[in-house]
Symmetry: C2
Subunit: 215 residues, 2 copies
């Protein structure tokens, strides 16, 4: 536990909890640390959610594989993000999607009832937690909004415009393979490839193996 003590105390969520009380819980071994190697499964779809998980280090992808084996990447989470926050207190607290470690990942686990006590104990922690949960839900709504019944071109443009803002450039560096981009949009790789070629022919974009530029 001790090697992660600083990491724990510096997560955005736990920073909002009174420090001396946090120390008490850390000394008391109330939190569990769990490490996952790259590409390891963290949760299977259908697993019971019993703990809130805070990502101390690494990257986690939330994915769904349907009956025909098609992969859809719903979201990716990094340092400070939480997993299970939207699920934990549900009447049906089973993960609707699988999550896997994209990188070597260290996760802090807080048991549901302990978390509830912490929430009831500290208003500032409660407020930060509610913010986190709201923001995570927003991602789901956003996925629905931008990816249900949209053409591949619309999905691609939505992704590019979002990344363009983040990266503050018309030239968007793809930090993933085209295959991964296809999975994130939820389409076949060949279909993405075809659509990118069409968009280039239409003069909307240019692209190479590692970036796409909006014209």
């Amino acid at each position: 536990m001790s090697p992660y003590q600083n990491l724990i105390k510096n997560t955005v969520l736990l920073r909002s909890f009174p420090p001396e009380k946090l120390d008490f819980h850390i000394q008391n071994n109330d939190f569990r640390i769990h490490s996952y190697n790259r590409n390891c499964l963290i949760h299977l779809e259908g697993d019971l959610c019993t703990h809130l998980e805070i990502i101390l280090r690494g990257a986690v992808a939330v994915e769904r594989i349907d009956e025909s084996g098609n992969l859809l990447t719903i979201a990716e989470f990094y340092n400070d993000d939480i997993l299970g926050g939207n699920l934990l207190f549900s009447k049906n607290p089973y993960f609707p999607m699988a999550s896997i470690a994209r990188e070597d990942t260290v996760i802090l686990e807080i048991e549901k009832n302990l978390l509830f006590d912490l929430l009831a104990e500290s208003p500032s922690f409660l407020r930060t937690y509610l913010e986190f949960v709201s923001d995570r839900t927003f991602i789901l709504g956003d996925k629905l909004k931008h990816y249900v019944n949209k053409s591949i071109r619309e999905c691609v443009l939505n992704y590019l415009e979002y990344e363009s803002k983040i990266q503050n450039s018309r030239q968007i560096k793809l930090n993933m393979t085209k295959k991964a981009l296809a999975d994130r949009i939820g389409v076949q790789r060949t279909s993405l490839s075809r659509e990118l070629a069409k968009m280039r022919d239409d003069g909307i974009i240019v692209f190479d193996s590692s970036s796409i530029t909006l014209l």
Copy 2:
């Protein structure tokens, strides 16, 4: 306010709040009541979310209309359900979808900061609230799971199997028009019509104007 006093005190969410304290807030006029006629707009996409809303009576549909005018019904909420709970404490608290009153609807509004005080004040209220919010998020996840990149047939079957459990019968009564079913699935009415005909030809279902039976 008084005509709704009993209604307010009997909502699932507020029943978990200490009654004498609830009475105090009711007397103090801390809650606002808002009525909407059938088909009235409650929130436009992009509206700022400032209050938690509890449906005292009626029905609310959450819908999204895209640039081309296509409608997608995300969810329908009734008595006791909440609106805005997943949004209120977000850094970006704007409704991602529109909501309209499907029936004449009465809504109780609790201002964000007051709600936060109530949550911090009563652990039982906090727990019920967290449950509600989790369950609402579950609906979004479910939509994603079952409706993103699915064929019309898969969407229809998912809907029928869900309703079959609820209604406890292989013959599912449609409590909506086929047009509304098409909107809920997010496809054209004619495409739904065509697919239902195909499914009948394939011996999967039979249907008439008011019901569909799984074979």
